[in-house]
């Protein structure tokens, strides 16, 4: 957002588009800033999001998929929303080419609590498309300047099919590294799939990460969350040590427009990251 006015987006340019999945409805957009000052001001942490803004179409809040350790650009992985009536902004974005300019407002929201995570073992659990800010966090922690600040890192990531896994190159690279334990699973493999098959909750049960000095960071579709949380409770993770990211319809992204509240909290400013302990104090209904 512009310095003087949080409602005015800053201009960015698409420098790279990566088609992530074989269904062609999830793409990663890499943006570079048109103004150097904007780039300097765009300081963010993993877990934050921004409003991608296309004039004439509107704005859409999207989690930042790159890590602050990636300098010079910022990445967003965007799913084309809506099956019957496509989302205005996301489908317009998907129709853009490299070189196109759009607007950006952010960084917005809180982040994964880096301070809190420091010196702890981190269990990252992701499902499907909701892996984007987890990727940001993982890359942040894996960066050579940061790796030492964190304990063991375990990643459990699942998608419905091999073709629907995001960031396939990075997944492969993590598997080769020694300082991260990465378990990739798919609900149903294909001929070429050599990896694990099975649903994320079952895999979590299988892997059984220790709760000792550990924080679980979980993002995924509601159904995955629903069945994964009991696994972590059973493993004796406390509510404080299970973190997740919420989604609500947002407009302003800066806590003013009044629509993304869960109880007295605004998802856009008090969130999107909450621990289960935070959520416990909030109504379960909206």
């Amino acid at each position: 957002m512009s310095a003087s006015n949080p409602y005015i987006p800053i201009p960015v340019q698409i420098s790279k588009i990566i088609n992530e999945v074989d269904t062609n409805d999830i793409k990663t957009f890499r943006f570079t800033f048109l103004n150097k000052e904007d780039e300097k001001k765009f300081k963010y942490l993993p877990g934050q999001f921004a409003e991608l803004s296309i004039y004439g179409k509107g704005e859409s809040p999207i989690g930042i998929a790159s890590s602050p350790t990636n300098s010079g650009y910022v990445e967003f992985t965007v799913q084309r929303a809506g099956t019957i009536v496509p989302g205005l902004v996301t489908s317009a974005l998907h129709d853009l080419d490299e070189g196109a300019q759009i607007g950006l407002r952010g960084p917005l929201g809180n982040s994964w609590p880096i301070e809190y995570l420091t010196k702890k073992n981190i269990v990252v659990v992701g499902g499907g498309f909701a892996f984007t800010t987890l990727r940001s966090l993982i890359n942040y922690m894996l960066h050579k300047d940061n790796r030492a600040r964190f304990g063991e890192i375990t990643v459990i990531y699942g998608a419905r099919t091999p073709g629907l896994l995001l960031y396939k190159d990075e997944l492969a690279a993590w598997e080769k590294r020694k300082d991260i334990k990465s378990i990739i699973t798919v609900d149903k493999g294909d001929e070429s799939w050599r990896g694990r098959e099975g649903f994320v909750p079952a895999v979590c049960k299988d892997v059984a990460p220790s709760p000792k000095n550990a924080v679980a960071v979980i993002c995924g579709p509601p159904i995955m969350i629903k069945f994964t949380l009991p696994v972590f409770f059973e493993l004796s993770f406390s509510q404080e040590n299970i973190l997740t990211s919420l989604e609500m319809r947002m407009k302003c992204g800066i806590g003013k427009c009044g629509r993304c509240n869960v109880g007295s909290k605004y998802v856009c400013t008090d969130g999107p990251i909450f621990s289960l302990a935070d959520l416990d104090g909030l109504p379960r209904d909206f």
Binding site: Y7, G58, G82, R259, F286
Partner: protein, 345 residues
């Protein structure tokens, strides 16, 4: 400092203010009074109980243009709308409504990211509060006493005005108000009797009773948290609710808005427009999911927002008891009664 002017000479005062800047004052429309920018000083009309729409639109207009853009042109060519405000005079605001600005200030002008539009408008404005006419009976919908506000409460006004027979007494309350009043040289100074009348009027305002219940902020907040999942209660109190946006639009403390782009012939404007939590599409996500599909959920959101969430977030109830939501509700849903009933539940 106290000054006065004859009510029938208000237009002269209005003309002076219009010279100094933008005057926003009540005018009589077919259906009642409303605040409007004054272009003809004769139109200012203080013979009203309260306006239909609250004066919040002076700072938070129904539509606020952010930026003008052209389709197919580089984004950097989009032009942000600059306000270029002249000094603004918000004239004839009832004490309960004045109070609403203080509540809205927390949201727009103090907590978190500052809203530049609200701030600029607010800073440019001098508020002329205006005591209720104590000689007339109170509207049965009002309940600002419950929120600790009185009919002749000068708190929050820069200049406070009281009607004395055919005259209007104006007293500077804040520095800004006092300074402005001193600059209004065309109106005469008040006499000692006027001063006395003014002070007594303020005091008498405390005896001018609206509906009242003893409302402890923490108690009601807690109570609403407790009964949040009492669907029977919420279904019952919302059984008549139409889920229209009247209550939120007339409300002086409702601030929800939508941001939308309006394009025609390749040129467009991004702007914010009032929105209402009572509308079904308010929380409708692009995926088609909507966490609040039921009328009771939306009414619960509205009441909780005012009497619970806002207290938790900003430490103050977001309601001034002006009675508009009750008065203009097509089915006479009364937030006061709901709160009363909630406490009893």
């Amino acid at each position: 400092m106290l000054k006065k002017t004859a009510i029938n000479k208000i237009s002269e005062l209005a003309a002076v203010l219009m010279e100094k800047g933008t005057l926003i004052a009540p005018v009589k429309e077919v259906s009642g009074h409303n605040f409007a920018q004054i272009l003809d000083p004769q139109k200012v009309d203080l013979d009203f109980y309260n306006t239909i729409m609250s004066p919040k639109s002076a700072f938070f207009p129904h539509k606020e243009d952010f930026i003008n853009y052209k389709v197919g042109k580089p984004i950097s060519e989009a032009e942000p709308v600059v306000l270029n405000l002249k000094p603004m005079f918000l004239f004839g605001v009832r004490p309960c409504d004045v109070k609403s600005f203080q509540i809205m200030d927390i949201h727009f002008n103090a907590a978190g990211i500052i809203d530049p539009y609200w701030r600029q408008r607010r800073e440019a404005t001098t508020i002329f509060g205006y005591a209720f006419d104590l000689s007339k009976s109170v509207d049965s919908a009002d309940f600002y006493n419950t929120l600790g506000i009185y009919a002749a409460d000068p708190d929050g006004s820069d200049i406070f005005m009281v009607k004395k027979d055919n005259e209007l007494l104006l007293k500077g309350i804040t520095l800004q108000g006092k300074k402005l009043l001193s600059e209004l040289t065309t109106i005469e100074n008040g006499k000692a009797a006027d001063k006395k009348y003014f002070e007594e009027y303020i005091k008498k305002g405390r005896d001018y009773k609206t509906r009242f219940m003893c409302l402890d902020q923490e108690t009601i907040t807690k109570k609403l948290e407790d009964i949040f999942h009492n669907t029977d209660f919420w279904t019952r109190v919302s059984s008549a609710c139409l889920s229209c946006g009247v209550c939120t639009f007339v409300c002086p403390t409702c601030y929800c808005f939508d941001i939308c782009d309006d394009t025609q012939f390749g040129r467009g404007t991004r702007r914010r427009v009032w929105d209402a939590c009572m509308f079904t599409d308010f929380t409708l996500e692009a995926s088609g999911h909507n966490p609040r599909t039921q009328v009771y959920q939306r009414l619960r959101q509205k009441i909780n927002h005012k009497y619970s969430y806002h207290v938790r977030k900003y430490g103050v109830i977001s309601c001034v008891g002006c009675g508009r939501c009750t008065r203009y509700c097509p089915v006479s849903i009364d937030i006061y009664s709901i709160i009363e009933e909630a406490i009893k539940t």
